[in-house]
């Protein structure tokens, strides 16, 4: 469900996300948000719901960056939230973020490990998209 001008890039990004989901079965949904706040890959089809999810995720990234600045730490690299009914995990990329949701009983450490390992591939695809 990636949406990007380069068709190859969109397919590549979907492929990387599909691989991550296959590797980490605890992941319920997964998305890639660009540095500009555009949702590049999501389980939602293009439309209102997808735009809404992109806006909410961008707000979360802004909040994290603000907290990092206020703490004098520069930037955040990883975010983990236990929201009661599940977990939201965010890993920062060069030029965006990789986010995932899991159930409450998920092995969160393992999911974050898989997300960090996938980061390089996602960044590579994003860089290829910028070159096109």
């Amino acid at each position: 469900m990636a949406e990007r001008s380069g068709a190859g890039t969109a397919e590549d990004l979907d492929g990387v996300i599909a691989d991550l989901r296959a590797l980490s079965e605890d992941i319920e949904s997964c998305a890639v948000l660009s540095g500009d706040g555009d949702l590049l890959s999501s389980s939602h089809a293009p439309g209102v719901e997808r735009e809404r999810v992109g806006a909410i995720l961008a707000a979360l990234v802004d909040l994290s960056e603000r907290l990092a600045r206020e703490s004098g730490k520069g930037q955040f690299s990883q975010l983990r939230i236990d929201a009661g009914g599940g977990h939201l995990l965010v890993v920062r990329l060069d030029g965006g973020v990789l986010a995932a949701t899991t159930g409450q009983e998920a092995r969160v450490g393992l999911v974050l490990y898989d997300m960090r390992n996938t980061r390089g591939e996602v960044e590579k695809v994003l860089a290829e998209g910028d070159d096109q």
């Binding site: 949904s29 999810v53 690299s77 939230i81 939201l88 949701t101």
Partner: protein, 69 residues
């Protein structure tokens, strides 16, 4: 009879003081730290659910978990 009433009064006062102390501690106790943010330098900050910042993160996360990404 008078002695019994005095004992009951003392017991009631003790129970009331105990309940007041318990209620106070409940209000003051730190909430569960349910937000963990890792910074570029490797340092970690945890936010509790009963803080304004922690609540902001949790509310946004809950919406995204409900709708899916």
């Amino acid at each position: 009879m008078k002695k019994l009433l005095r004992r009951l009064f003392v017991l009631g006062a003790l129970a009331g003081a105990g309940y007041a102390a318990w209620s106070y501690l409940q209000g003051q106790s730190p909430g569960k730290e349910n937000v963990q943010i890792v910074f570029d330098d490797g340092s970690v900050r945890a936010l509790a659910s009963n803080t304004t910042e922690g609540q902001e993160f949790t509310d946004i996360a809950r919406k995204l978990i409900e709708t899916g990404l």
